[in-house]
Chain length 285, copies 2
DNA sequence: GTTCCGCATGAATCGATAG
DNA sequence: ACTATCGATTCATGCGGAA
Protein backbone atom coordinates (compact mmCIF):
# COMPACT_ATOMS: atom_id res chain seq x y z
CA UNK A 1 0.00 0.00 0.00
CA UNK A 2 1.05 3.57 -0.49
CA UNK A 3 1.25 4.43 3.13
CA UNK A 4 -1.24 4.84 5.92
CA UNK A 5 -4.45 6.45 4.77
CA UNK A 6 -5.36 9.94 5.85
CA UNK A 7 -8.39 9.64 8.09
CA UNK A 8 -10.28 12.72 9.23
CA UNK A 9 -12.97 12.84 11.88
CA UNK A 10 -15.70 15.40 11.34
CA UNK A 11 -18.21 16.83 8.93
CA UNK A 12 -16.77 16.57 5.47
CA UNK A 13 -18.18 19.99 4.59
CA UNK A 14 -15.57 21.37 7.03
CA UNK A 15 -12.88 18.73 7.01
CA UNK A 16 -12.49 18.90 3.25
CA UNK A 17 -10.69 22.21 3.80
CA UNK A 18 -7.74 20.13 4.99
CA UNK A 19 -7.41 18.54 1.57
CA UNK A 20 -5.26 20.35 -0.95
CA UNK A 21 -6.49 21.81 -4.22
CA UNK A 22 -6.18 19.59 -7.28
CA UNK A 23 -4.82 16.67 -5.32
CA UNK A 24 -7.37 13.89 -5.78
CA UNK A 25 -7.62 11.53 -8.75
CA UNK A 26 -10.85 9.79 -7.82
CA UNK A 27 -13.66 10.60 -5.46
CA UNK A 28 -15.74 7.51 -4.79
CA UNK A 29 -18.44 7.90 -2.21
CA UNK A 30 -21.86 6.86 -1.15
CA UNK A 31 -23.39 9.64 0.89
CA UNK A 32 -26.22 8.92 3.29
CA UNK A 33 -29.36 8.60 1.30
CA UNK A 34 -32.13 11.01 2.04
CA UNK A 35 -34.33 10.00 4.91
CA UNK A 36 -37.29 11.72 6.37
CA UNK A 37 -36.73 10.10 9.73
CA UNK A 38 -34.99 12.24 12.28
CA UNK A 39 -32.11 11.37 14.52
CA UNK A 40 -30.71 8.78 12.18
CA UNK A 41 -27.24 8.81 10.78
CA UNK A 42 -27.21 11.42 8.10
CA UNK A 43 -30.95 11.81 8.20
CA UNK A 44 -31.26 14.49 5.57
CA UNK A 45 -34.78 15.24 4.50
CA UNK A 46 -35.33 14.56 0.80
CA UNK A 47 -36.53 18.08 0.17
CA UNK A 48 -33.34 19.52 1.66
CA UNK A 49 -30.96 17.07 0.04
CA UNK A 50 -29.65 19.22 -2.81
CA UNK A 51 -29.08 22.21 -0.56
CA UNK A 52 -27.24 20.01 1.88
CA UNK A 53 -25.02 18.43 -0.74
CA UNK A 54 -23.98 21.36 -2.90
CA UNK A 55 -21.53 23.00 -0.47
CA UNK A 56 -19.79 19.65 -0.23
CA UNK A 57 -19.78 19.33 -4.01
CA UNK A 58 -18.07 22.70 -4.18
CA UNK A 59 -15.26 21.43 -1.99
CA UNK A 60 -14.98 18.26 -4.02
CA UNK A 61 -14.70 20.38 -7.14
CA UNK A 62 -11.77 22.17 -5.59
CA UNK A 63 -9.78 19.14 -4.47
CA UNK A 64 -10.29 17.05 -7.60
CA UNK A 65 -7.61 17.13 -10.25
CA UNK A 66 -8.77 18.35 -13.68
CA UNK A 67 -8.19 14.84 -15.01
CA UNK A 68 -9.97 13.24 -12.07
CA UNK A 69 -13.36 11.66 -11.73
CA UNK A 70 -16.14 11.83 -9.16
CA UNK A 71 -18.30 8.72 -8.78
CA UNK A 72 -21.45 9.23 -6.71
CA UNK A 73 -23.34 6.14 -5.58
CA UNK A 74 -26.90 7.16 -4.83
CA UNK A 75 -30.51 6.13 -5.18
CA UNK A 76 -33.73 7.97 -4.54
CA UNK A 77 -36.18 6.71 -1.97
CA UNK A 78 -39.89 6.31 -2.35
CA UNK A 79 -41.73 9.18 -0.73
CA UNK A 80 -45.48 9.19 -0.68
CA UNK A 81 -45.72 6.52 -3.35
CA UNK A 82 -43.40 8.28 -5.78
CA UNK A 83 -39.71 8.20 -6.48
CA UNK A 84 -38.39 11.41 -5.03
CA UNK A 85 -36.67 13.80 -7.41
CA UNK A 86 -33.71 14.86 -5.29
CA UNK A 87 -31.22 12.81 -7.26
CA UNK A 88 -32.14 14.18 -10.66
CA UNK A 89 -32.38 17.67 -9.21
CA UNK A 90 -28.89 17.14 -7.84
CA UNK A 91 -27.61 16.28 -11.31
CA UNK A 92 -29.04 19.50 -12.72
CA UNK A 93 -27.59 21.54 -9.88
CA UNK A 94 -24.16 19.94 -10.20
CA UNK A 95 -24.07 20.89 -13.87
CA UNK A 96 -24.89 24.49 -12.98
CA UNK A 97 -21.82 24.48 -10.77
CA UNK A 98 -19.42 23.35 -13.47
CA UNK A 99 -19.58 19.58 -13.19
CA UNK A 100 -19.93 17.53 -16.34
CA UNK A 101 -22.41 14.66 -16.07
CA UNK A 102 -20.35 12.28 -18.14
CA UNK A 103 -22.14 9.01 -17.52
CA UNK A 104 -24.55 7.12 -15.36
CA UNK A 105 -23.39 3.63 -14.50
CA UNK A 106 -25.89 1.23 -13.08
CA UNK A 107 -25.25 -1.10 -10.19
CA UNK A 108 -27.50 -4.08 -10.74
CA UNK A 109 -27.80 -5.69 -7.32
CA UNK A 110 -28.18 -9.43 -7.43
CA UNK A 111 -29.74 -9.62 -4.01
CA UNK A 112 -32.10 -6.78 -3.40
CA UNK A 113 -33.92 -6.13 -0.19
CA UNK A 114 -36.92 -8.44 0.21
CA UNK A 115 -40.45 -7.30 0.57
CA UNK A 116 -43.73 -7.07 -1.27
CA UNK A 117 -45.96 -4.13 -1.89
CA UNK A 118 -49.13 -3.71 -3.88
CA UNK A 119 -47.75 -1.06 -6.19
CA UNK A 120 -44.08 -1.82 -6.78
CA UNK A 121 -41.43 -4.50 -6.91
CA UNK A 122 -38.20 -4.76 -5.02
CA UNK A 123 -35.62 -2.17 -5.91
CA UNK A 124 -32.57 -3.91 -7.23
CA UNK A 125 -30.47 -1.19 -8.85
CA UNK A 126 -28.62 1.92 -7.82
CA UNK A 127 -27.11 4.81 -9.71
CA UNK A 128 -23.39 5.44 -10.01
CA UNK A 129 -23.21 8.95 -11.38
CA UNK A 130 -19.96 9.93 -13.04
CA UNK A 131 -19.02 13.59 -12.89
CA UNK A 132 -15.94 15.20 -14.39
CA UNK A 133 -14.37 18.61 -14.57
CA UNK A 134 -13.39 18.41 -18.21
CA UNK A 135 -14.03 16.22 -21.21
CA UNK A 136 -10.58 14.68 -21.07
CA UNK A 137 -9.99 12.64 -17.99
CA UNK A 138 -7.93 9.61 -17.01
CA UNK A 139 -9.55 6.29 -17.80
CA UNK A 140 -7.71 2.98 -17.85
CA UNK A 141 -10.17 0.76 -19.62
CA UNK A 142 -7.86 -2.20 -20.01
CA UNK A 143 -7.75 -2.64 -16.25
CA UNK A 144 -11.36 -3.70 -15.97
CA UNK A 145 -11.74 -6.05 -18.89
CA UNK A 146 -13.94 -9.02 -18.18
CA UNK A 147 -13.88 -12.64 -19.28
CA UNK A 148 -15.50 -13.15 -22.61
CA UNK A 149 -18.89 -14.83 -22.75
CA UNK A 150 -19.75 -18.43 -23.32
CA UNK A 151 -20.08 -17.93 -27.03
CA UNK A 152 -16.33 -17.62 -27.37
CA UNK A 153 -15.64 -20.88 -25.61
CA UNK A 154 -17.91 -22.86 -27.88
CA UNK A 155 -16.55 -20.98 -30.81
CA UNK A 156 -13.05 -21.93 -29.81
CA UNK A 157 -13.89 -25.57 -29.39
CA UNK A 158 -15.20 -25.84 -32.89
CA UNK A 159 -12.60 -23.74 -34.53
CA UNK A 160 -13.51 -23.33 -38.13
CA UNK A 161 -11.53 -25.18 -40.75
CA UNK A 162 -10.46 -22.01 -42.47
CA UNK A 163 -9.01 -20.73 -39.26
CA UNK A 164 -6.98 -23.88 -38.85
CA UNK A 165 -5.81 -23.79 -42.44
CA UNK A 166 -4.93 -20.15 -42.35
CA UNK A 167 -3.13 -20.76 -39.15
CA UNK A 168 -1.14 -23.71 -40.33
CA UNK A 169 -0.11 -21.97 -43.48
CA UNK A 170 1.28 -19.11 -41.53
CA UNK A 171 3.09 -20.91 -38.78
CA UNK A 172 3.66 -24.22 -40.46
CA UNK A 173 3.97 -26.27 -37.34
CA UNK A 174 0.78 -27.72 -36.06
CA UNK A 175 -1.10 -25.36 -33.85
CA UNK A 176 -0.32 -21.86 -34.77
CA UNK A 177 -0.20 -18.38 -33.59
CA UNK A 178 -3.70 -17.43 -34.58
CA UNK A 179 -5.19 -20.05 -32.38
CA UNK A 180 -3.20 -18.85 -29.46
CA UNK A 181 -4.30 -15.34 -30.22
CA UNK A 182 -7.87 -16.45 -30.02
CA UNK A 183 -7.18 -18.38 -26.90
CA UNK A 184 -5.56 -15.37 -25.35
CA UNK A 185 -8.41 -13.13 -26.32
CA UNK A 186 -10.54 -14.08 -23.37
CA UNK A 187 -11.29 -10.58 -22.19
CA UNK A 188 -13.58 -7.90 -23.49
CA UNK A 189 -14.44 -4.40 -22.35
CA UNK A 190 -17.32 -4.23 -19.90
CA UNK A 191 -20.48 -2.19 -20.22
CA UNK A 192 -21.89 0.53 -18.01
CA UNK A 193 -23.81 -2.02 -15.96
CA UNK A 194 -22.10 -3.53 -12.93
CA UNK A 195 -23.66 -6.73 -11.69
CA UNK A 196 -22.78 -7.48 -8.08
CA UNK A 197 -24.39 -8.80 -4.95
CA UNK A 198 -24.49 -6.73 -1.81
CA UNK A 199 -22.56 -8.05 1.13
CA UNK A 200 -25.25 -8.70 3.67
CA UNK A 201 -23.38 -9.89 6.71
CA UNK A 202 -19.71 -10.24 6.09
CA UNK A 203 -17.62 -11.27 9.06
CA UNK A 204 -17.41 -8.16 11.15
CA UNK A 205 -18.32 -5.26 8.97
CA UNK A 206 -21.39 -4.94 6.87
CA UNK A 207 -20.78 -2.29 4.27
CA UNK A 208 -23.35 -0.56 2.17
CA UNK A 209 -21.65 -1.88 -0.91
CA UNK A 210 -19.30 -4.75 -1.73
CA UNK A 211 -15.55 -4.31 -2.07
CA UNK A 212 -15.76 -4.96 -5.77
CA UNK A 213 -17.70 -1.78 -6.38
CA UNK A 214 -15.00 0.73 -5.37
CA UNK A 215 -12.37 -1.70 -6.62
CA UNK A 216 -13.79 -1.56 -10.13
CA UNK A 217 -13.83 2.23 -10.28
CA UNK A 218 -10.44 2.58 -8.63
CA UNK A 219 -8.94 0.30 -11.27
CA UNK A 220 -10.74 2.17 -14.01
CA UNK A 221 -9.89 5.73 -13.02
CA UNK A 222 -6.61 5.58 -11.08
CA UNK A 223 -3.14 4.11 -11.16
CA UNK A 224 -1.10 2.91 -8.19
CA UNK A 225 0.15 5.92 -6.26
CA UNK A 226 -2.87 8.03 -7.17
CA UNK A 227 -5.13 9.49 -4.53
CA UNK A 228 -8.65 8.26 -3.75
CA UNK A 229 -11.02 10.25 -1.54
CA UNK A 230 -14.18 9.14 0.23
CA UNK A 231 -15.80 12.04 2.08
CA UNK A 232 -18.45 9.74 3.58
CA UNK A 233 -16.19 6.95 4.72
CA UNK A 234 -18.67 4.97 6.80
CA UNK A 235 -17.27 1.56 7.61
CA UNK A 236 -14.29 2.31 5.41
CA UNK A 237 -14.82 0.02 2.47
CA UNK A 238 -13.47 2.48 -0.08
CA UNK A 239 -10.33 3.47 1.83
CA UNK A 240 -9.58 -0.15 2.68
CA UNK A 241 -9.80 -1.22 -0.91
CA UNK A 242 -7.84 1.81 -2.09
CA UNK A 243 -5.04 1.12 0.39
CA UNK A 244 -4.89 -2.51 -0.63
CA UNK A 245 -4.61 -1.41 -4.22
CA UNK A 246 -1.61 0.80 -3.41
CA UNK A 247 -3.47 4.06 -3.78
CA UNK A 248 -3.24 6.94 -1.35
CA UNK A 249 -6.51 7.01 0.52
CA UNK A 250 -8.28 9.89 2.24
CA UNK A 251 -11.36 9.19 4.30
CA UNK A 252 -13.64 11.54 6.21
CA UNK A 253 -16.24 10.35 8.68
CA UNK A 254 -18.51 12.29 10.98
CA UNK A 255 -19.44 9.50 13.41
CA UNK A 256 -16.70 8.68 15.94
CA UNK A 257 -17.70 5.04 16.22
CA UNK A 258 -17.17 4.46 12.52
CA UNK A 259 -14.03 6.56 12.53
CA UNK A 260 -12.53 4.66 15.44
CA UNK A 261 -13.40 1.36 13.86
CA UNK A 262 -11.65 2.19 10.61
CA UNK A 263 -8.69 3.63 12.47
CA UNK A 264 -8.36 0.49 14.55
CA UNK A 265 -8.56 -1.67 11.48
CA UNK A 266 -5.64 0.18 9.95
CA UNK A 267 -3.61 0.15 13.17
CA UNK A 268 -3.47 -3.62 12.95
CA UNK A 269 -3.18 -3.48 9.22
CA UNK A 270 -0.55 -5.59 7.56
CA UNK A 271 0.32 -5.02 3.96
CA UNK A 272 -0.91 -7.94 2.00
CA UNK A 273 -1.28 -8.95 -1.52
CA UNK A 274 -4.64 -7.83 -2.67
CA UNK A 275 -6.79 -10.76 -3.59
CA UNK A 276 -7.85 -10.21 -7.10
CA UNK A 277 -11.42 -11.10 -7.81
CA UNK A 278 -12.97 -10.93 -11.20
CA UNK A 279 -16.14 -9.04 -11.78
CA UNK A 280 -18.22 -10.83 -14.30
CA UNK A 281 -20.48 -9.15 -16.72
CA UNK A 282 -24.16 -9.72 -16.21
CA UNK A 283 -25.82 -12.31 -18.35
CA UNK A 284 -22.67 -14.29 -18.72
CA UNK A 285 -22.62 -15.99 -15.40
CA UNK B 1 -57.24 -11.29 -29.89
CA UNK B 2 -59.79 -8.67 -29.00
CA UNK B 3 -60.43 -7.54 -32.53
CA UNK B 4 -58.41 -5.70 -35.10
CA UNK B 5 -56.24 -3.00 -33.62
CA UNK B 6 -57.04 0.65 -34.18
CA UNK B 7 -54.26 2.04 -36.33
CA UNK B 8 -53.97 5.77 -36.95
CA UNK B 9 -51.70 7.47 -39.46
CA UNK B 10 -50.39 10.85 -38.46
CA UNK B 11 -48.72 12.90 -35.78
CA UNK B 12 -49.81 11.53 -32.43
CA UNK B 13 -50.06 15.06 -31.05
CA UNK B 14 -53.06 15.46 -33.36
CA UNK B 15 -54.28 11.92 -33.84
CA UNK B 16 -54.61 11.36 -30.10
CA UNK B 17 -57.71 13.55 -30.27
CA UNK B 18 -59.44 10.58 -31.85
CA UNK B 19 -58.92 8.54 -28.71
CA UNK B 20 -61.62 8.84 -26.04
CA UNK B 21 -61.08 10.21 -22.57
CA UNK B 22 -60.27 7.66 -19.86
CA UNK B 23 -60.23 4.76 -22.26
CA UNK B 24 -56.69 3.40 -22.08
CA UNK B 25 -55.33 1.02 -19.44
CA UNK B 26 -51.69 1.05 -20.47
CA UNK B 27 -49.59 3.35 -22.59
CA UNK B 28 -46.38 1.65 -23.57
CA UNK B 29 -44.16 3.52 -25.96
CA UNK B 30 -40.65 4.27 -27.01
CA UNK B 31 -40.63 7.72 -28.58
CA UNK B 32 -37.92 8.77 -30.99
CA UNK B 33 -34.86 9.58 -29.00
CA UNK B 34 -33.54 13.06 -29.20
CA UNK B 35 -31.13 13.61 -32.02
CA UNK B 36 -29.28 16.71 -32.95
CA UNK B 37 -29.00 15.57 -36.54
CA UNK B 38 -31.73 16.93 -38.73
CA UNK B 39 -33.97 15.13 -41.17
CA UNK B 40 -33.91 11.89 -39.29
CA UNK B 41 -37.01 10.10 -38.15
CA UNK B 42 -38.29 12.06 -35.24
CA UNK B 43 -35.13 14.08 -35.14
CA UNK B 44 -36.00 16.23 -32.19
CA UNK B 45 -33.17 18.32 -30.90
CA UNK B 46 -32.26 17.41 -27.33
CA UNK B 47 -32.75 20.96 -26.13
CA UNK B 48 -36.29 21.02 -27.53
CA UNK B 49 -37.25 17.55 -26.38
CA UNK B 50 -39.31 18.47 -23.33
CA UNK B 51 -41.21 21.20 -25.16
CA UNK B 52 -41.94 18.77 -27.95
CA UNK B 53 -43.15 16.01 -25.68
CA UNK B 54 -45.33 17.83 -23.17
CA UNK B 55 -48.30 18.51 -25.48
CA UNK B 56 -48.35 14.81 -26.24
CA UNK B 57 -48.11 13.99 -22.55
CA UNK B 58 -51.15 16.18 -21.98
CA UNK B 59 -53.15 14.11 -24.46
CA UNK B 60 -51.91 10.90 -22.89
CA UNK B 61 -53.03 12.21 -19.53
CA UNK B 62 -56.50 12.70 -20.94
CA UNK B 63 -56.93 9.29 -22.56
CA UNK B 64 -55.45 7.24 -19.73
CA UNK B 65 -57.84 5.74 -17.18
CA UNK B 66 -57.25 6.88 -13.59
CA UNK B 67 -56.18 3.31 -12.77
CA UNK B 68 -53.95 3.11 -15.83
CA UNK B 69 -50.21 3.28 -16.23
CA UNK B 70 -47.86 5.03 -18.64
CA UNK B 71 -44.55 3.30 -19.34
CA UNK B 72 -42.02 5.43 -21.20
CA UNK B 73 -38.98 3.69 -22.64
CA UNK B 74 -36.28 6.29 -23.06
CA UNK B 75 -32.57 6.92 -22.69
CA UNK B 76 -30.60 10.10 -22.90
CA UNK B 77 -28.04 10.51 -25.62
CA UNK B 78 -24.49 11.62 -25.20
CA UNK B 79 -24.15 15.20 -26.37
CA UNK B 80 -20.81 16.90 -26.30
CA UNK B 81 -19.29 14.28 -24.05
CA UNK B 82 -22.08 14.46 -21.48
CA UNK B 83 -25.31 12.65 -20.89
CA UNK B 84 -27.96 15.12 -21.92
CA UNK B 85 -30.48 16.14 -19.29
CA UNK B 86 -33.67 16.04 -21.33
CA UNK B 87 -34.89 12.84 -19.72
CA UNK B 88 -34.59 14.03 -16.15
CA UNK B 89 -36.00 17.42 -17.13
CA UNK B 90 -38.91 15.58 -18.67
CA UNK B 91 -39.58 13.78 -15.41
CA UNK B 92 -39.68 17.05 -13.51
CA UNK B 93 -41.97 18.61 -16.09
CA UNK B 94 -44.32 15.63 -16.14
CA UNK B 95 -44.73 15.90 -12.39
CA UNK B 96 -45.62 19.57 -12.73
CA UNK B 97 -48.41 18.51 -15.04
CA UNK B 98 -49.99 16.07 -12.65
CA UNK B 99 -48.17 12.86 -13.43
CA UNK B 100 -46.86 10.75 -10.58
CA UNK B 101 -43.36 9.36 -11.13
CA UNK B 102 -44.11 6.05 -9.48
CA UNK B 103 -41.05 4.07 -10.45
CA UNK B 104 -38.09 3.78 -12.76
CA UNK B 105 -37.63 0.29 -14.13
CA UNK B 106 -34.37 -0.64 -15.71
CA UNK B 107 -33.99 -2.55 -18.92
CA UNK B 108 -30.67 -4.31 -18.65
CA UNK B 109 -29.74 -5.29 -22.19
CA UNK B 110 -27.85 -8.53 -22.34
CA UNK B 111 -26.33 -7.81 -25.72
CA UNK B 112 -25.62 -4.16 -26.06
CA UNK B 113 -24.44 -2.45 -29.17
CA UNK B 114 -20.75 -3.08 -29.77
CA UNK B 115 -18.23 -0.30 -29.86
CA UNK B 116 -15.36 1.28 -28.02
CA UNK B 117 -14.76 4.84 -27.03
CA UNK B 118 -11.88 6.39 -25.10
CA UNK B 119 -14.05 7.89 -22.39
CA UNK B 120 -16.99 5.55 -21.93
CA UNK B 121 -18.14 1.97 -22.17
CA UNK B 122 -20.96 0.47 -24.14
CA UNK B 123 -24.38 1.57 -22.99
CA UNK B 124 -26.32 -1.50 -21.99
CA UNK B 125 -29.31 -0.19 -20.09
CA UNK B 126 -32.34 1.95 -20.72
CA UNK B 127 -34.91 3.58 -18.52
CA UNK B 128 -38.52 2.50 -18.33
CA UNK B 129 -40.22 5.35 -16.53
CA UNK B 130 -43.50 4.53 -14.88
CA UNK B 131 -45.99 7.36 -14.58
CA UNK B 132 -49.43 7.18 -13.01
CA UNK B 133 -52.37 9.47 -12.43
CA UNK B 134 -53.06 8.35 -8.89
CA UNK B 135 -51.43 6.27 -6.20
CA UNK B 136 -53.84 3.40 -6.68
CA UNK B 137 -53.54 1.75 -10.06
CA UNK B 138 -54.04 -1.69 -11.50
CA UNK B 139 -51.08 -4.02 -11.08
CA UNK B 140 -51.25 -7.77 -11.56
CA UNK B 141 -48.00 -8.86 -9.98
CA UNK B 142 -48.74 -12.57 -10.05
CA UNK B 143 -48.70 -12.54 -13.83
CA UNK B 144 -44.99 -11.86 -14.05
CA UNK B 145 -43.56 -14.08 -11.33
CA UNK B 146 -40.26 -15.71 -12.15
CA UNK B 147 -38.66 -19.01 -11.17
CA UNK B 148 -37.05 -18.93 -7.79
CA UNK B 149 -33.29 -18.99 -7.53
CA UNK B 150 -31.26 -22.15 -7.14
CA UNK B 151 -30.80 -21.57 -3.46
CA UNK B 152 -34.43 -22.41 -2.79
CA UNK B 153 -34.28 -25.94 -4.13
CA UNK B 154 -31.87 -27.09 -1.49
CA UNK B 155 -32.49 -24.67 1.28
CA UNK B 156 -36.20 -24.08 1.35
CA UNK B 157 -36.90 -27.70 2.17
CA UNK B 158 -36.17 -27.05 5.78
CA UNK B 159 -37.61 -23.71 6.66
CA UNK B 160 -35.31 -21.81 8.95
CA UNK B 161 -36.26 -21.46 12.57
CA UNK B 162 -36.26 -17.70 12.51
CA UNK B 163 -38.67 -17.62 9.63
CA UNK B 164 -41.01 -19.94 11.53
CA UNK B 165 -40.77 -17.72 14.57
CA UNK B 166 -41.33 -14.60 12.54
CA UNK B 167 -44.31 -16.24 11.01
CA UNK B 168 -45.81 -17.50 14.24
CA UNK B 169 -45.60 -14.10 15.78
CA UNK B 170 -47.63 -12.79 12.94
CA UNK B 171 -50.32 -15.45 12.70
CA UNK B 172 -50.34 -16.56 16.30
CA UNK B 173 -51.66 -20.07 15.68
CA UNK B 174 -49.04 -22.65 14.94
CA UNK B 175 -48.19 -22.79 11.30
CA UNK B 176 -49.19 -19.67 9.51
CA UNK B 177 -50.52 -19.80 6.05
CA UNK B 178 -47.41 -18.13 4.78
CA UNK B 179 -45.29 -21.11 5.73
CA UNK B 180 -47.23 -23.34 3.40
CA UNK B 181 -46.92 -20.68 0.77
CA UNK B 182 -43.19 -20.75 1.13
CA UNK B 183 -42.97 -24.51 1.00
CA UNK B 184 -44.95 -24.71 -2.21
CA UNK B 185 -43.21 -21.81 -3.78
CA UNK B 186 -41.28 -22.15 -6.96
CA UNK B 187 -41.91 -18.64 -8.18
CA UNK B 188 -40.94 -15.31 -6.72
CA UNK B 189 -41.84 -11.75 -7.57
CA UNK B 190 -39.42 -10.04 -9.89
CA UNK B 191 -37.52 -6.84 -9.24
CA UNK B 192 -37.52 -3.54 -11.06
CA UNK B 193 -34.69 -4.66 -13.32
CA UNK B 194 -35.70 -6.40 -16.52
CA UNK B 195 -32.95 -8.46 -18.03
CA UNK B 196 -33.53 -9.10 -21.71
CA UNK B 197 -31.50 -9.40 -24.84
CA UNK B 198 -32.25 -7.10 -27.72
CA UNK B 199 -33.57 -8.79 -30.81
CA UNK B 200 -30.71 -8.53 -33.20
CA UNK B 201 -32.21 -9.35 -36.57
CA UNK B 202 -35.61 -10.84 -36.15
CA UNK B 203 -37.63 -11.34 -39.31
CA UNK B 204 -37.74 -8.19 -41.35
CA UNK B 205 -38.42 -5.42 -38.94
CA UNK B 206 -35.79 -4.07 -36.64
CA UNK B 207 -37.67 -3.10 -33.55
CA UNK B 208 -36.35 -0.80 -30.91
CA UNK B 209 -37.08 -3.41 -28.28
CA UNK B 210 -37.82 -7.13 -28.06
CA UNK B 211 -41.35 -8.50 -27.83
CA UNK B 212 -40.81 -9.52 -24.23
CA UNK B 213 -40.46 -5.93 -23.10
CA UNK B 214 -44.02 -4.76 -23.89
CA UNK B 215 -45.25 -8.26 -23.09
CA UNK B 216 -43.97 -7.99 -19.55
CA UNK B 217 -45.62 -4.65 -18.89
CA UNK B 218 -48.86 -5.64 -20.63
CA UNK B 219 -49.08 -8.67 -18.39
CA UNK B 220 -48.26 -6.60 -15.35
CA UNK B 221 -50.63 -3.69 -15.88
CA UNK B 222 -53.53 -5.01 -17.98
CA UNK B 223 -56.00 -7.89 -18.24
CA UNK B 224 -57.34 -9.43 -21.43
CA UNK B 225 -59.84 -7.06 -22.98
CA UNK B 226 -58.06 -3.98 -21.67
CA UNK B 227 -56.74 -1.32 -23.99
CA UNK B 228 -53.08 -0.72 -24.79
CA UNK B 229 -51.90 2.40 -26.61
CA UNK B 230 -48.62 3.07 -28.38
CA UNK B 231 -48.52 6.63 -29.73
CA UNK B 232 -45.18 6.00 -31.43
CA UNK B 233 -45.99 2.68 -33.04
CA UNK B 234 -42.96 2.33 -35.27
CA UNK B 235 -42.73 -1.18 -36.60
CA UNK B 236 -45.66 -2.19 -34.43
CA UNK B 237 -44.06 -4.37 -31.80
CA UNK B 238 -46.29 -3.16 -28.99
CA UNK B 239 -49.60 -3.42 -30.87
CA UNK B 240 -48.65 -6.84 -32.25
CA UNK B 241 -47.87 -8.18 -28.82
CA UNK B 242 -50.96 -6.56 -27.33
CA UNK B 243 -53.21 -8.06 -29.98
CA UNK B 244 -51.70 -11.48 -29.49
CA UNK B 245 -52.36 -11.13 -25.78
CA UNK B 246 -56.04 -10.40 -26.42
CA UNK B 247 -55.82 -6.75 -25.54
CA UNK B 248 -57.39 -3.98 -27.58
CA UNK B 249 -54.55 -2.18 -29.25
CA UNK B 250 -54.30 1.38 -30.51
CA UNK B 251 -51.27 2.43 -32.51
CA UNK B 252 -50.35 5.79 -33.98
CA UNK B 253 -47.57 6.26 -36.49
CA UNK B 254 -46.49 9.30 -38.42
CA UNK B 255 -44.48 7.60 -41.16
CA UNK B 256 -46.65 6.02 -43.89
CA UNK B 257 -44.13 3.28 -44.63
CA UNK B 258 -44.23 2.01 -41.08
CA UNK B 259 -47.99 2.48 -40.91
CA UNK B 260 -48.56 0.51 -44.11
CA UNK B 261 -46.25 -2.22 -42.98
CA UNK B 262 -48.08 -2.74 -39.71
CA UNK B 263 -51.43 -2.51 -41.46
CA UNK B 264 -50.40 -5.14 -43.97
CA UNK B 265 -49.16 -7.39 -41.22
CA UNK B 266 -52.54 -7.28 -39.55
CA UNK B 267 -54.45 -7.77 -42.82
CA UNK B 268 -52.92 -11.20 -43.11
CA UNK B 269 -53.11 -11.68 -39.40
CA UNK B 270 -54.48 -14.93 -38.13
CA UNK B 271 -55.41 -15.31 -34.52
CA UNK B 272 -52.97 -17.63 -32.92
CA UNK B 273 -52.10 -18.86 -29.56
CA UNK B 274 -49.54 -16.57 -28.15
CA UNK B 275 -46.33 -18.37 -27.51
CA UNK B 276 -45.60 -17.94 -23.88
CA UNK B 277 -41.99 -17.24 -23.11
CA UNK B 278 -40.69 -16.89 -19.63
CA UNK B 279 -38.70 -13.87 -18.69
CA UNK B 280 -36.04 -14.84 -16.26
CA UNK B 281 -34.71 -12.64 -13.59
CA UNK B 282 -31.16 -11.47 -13.95
CA UNK B 283 -28.53 -13.47 -12.22
CA UNK B 284 -30.47 -16.67 -12.45
CA UNK B 285 -29.75 -17.57 -16.02
C1' DG C 1 -11.13 -31.77 2.81
C1' DT C 2 -15.54 -31.37 0.73
C1' DT C 3 -20.47 -30.75 0.73
C1' DC C 4 -24.63 -29.67 2.97
C1' DC C 5 -27.61 -27.06 5.62
C1' DG C 6 -29.18 -23.83 9.44
C1' DC C 7 -29.22 -19.18 10.26
C1' DA C 8 -29.19 -14.04 10.45
C1' DT C 9 -29.87 -10.04 8.03
C1' DG C 10 -29.96 -6.40 4.66
C1' DA C 11 -29.48 1.90 1.54
C1' DA C 12 -37.05 -1.10 1.69
C1' DT C 13 -41.89 0.17 1.60
C1' DC C 14 -46.69 0.16 2.89
C1' DG C 15 -50.62 0.60 5.86
C1' DA C 16 -52.35 1.09 10.26
C1' DT C 17 -52.09 3.11 14.60
C1' DA C 18 -50.86 6.58 17.76
C1' DG C 19 -49.67 11.37 19.18
C1' DA D 1 -54.84 17.23 8.72
C1' DC D 2 -50.21 15.96 9.47
C1' DT D 3 -46.30 13.46 11.35
C1' DA D 4 -43.93 9.66 13.96
C1' DT D 5 -43.64 4.91 15.01
C1' DC D 6 -44.34 0.00 14.31
C1' DG D 7 -45.49 -4.47 12.35
C1' DA D 8 -45.73 -7.24 8.23
C1' DT D 9 -43.92 -8.70 4.07
C1' DT D 10 -39.92 -11.02 1.38
C1' DC D 11 -35.46 -13.41 -0.90
C1' DA D 12 -30.46 -13.92 -1.81
C1' DT D 13 -26.10 -14.45 0.41
C1' DG D 14 -22.04 -15.78 3.30
C1' DC D 15 -20.66 -17.81 7.39
C1' DG D 16 -20.07 -21.60 10.36
C1' DG D 17 -21.14 -25.95 12.16
C1' DA D 18 -22.47 -30.63 10.86
C1' DA D 19 -22.37 -34.78 8.01
Amino acid sequence: MSGFPKLLLGDCAEKLSEVEDNSVDLIFTSPPYADSRKNTYGGIHPDKYVDWFMPIAEQLHRVLKPTGTFILNIKERVVNGERHTYVIELILEMRKHGWLWTEEFMWHKKNSYPGKWPNRFRDSWERLLQFNLQKKFNMYQDEVMVPVGEWAKTRLKNLSQTDKIRDNSKVGSGFGKNVSNWLNRDKVYPTNVIHLATECNNKNHSAAFPDQLPEWFIKLFTKPGDTVLDPFMGSGTTVMVAANMHRNAIGIEILPEYFDMVNAAFETYQPQLFEHREIYEPGKS
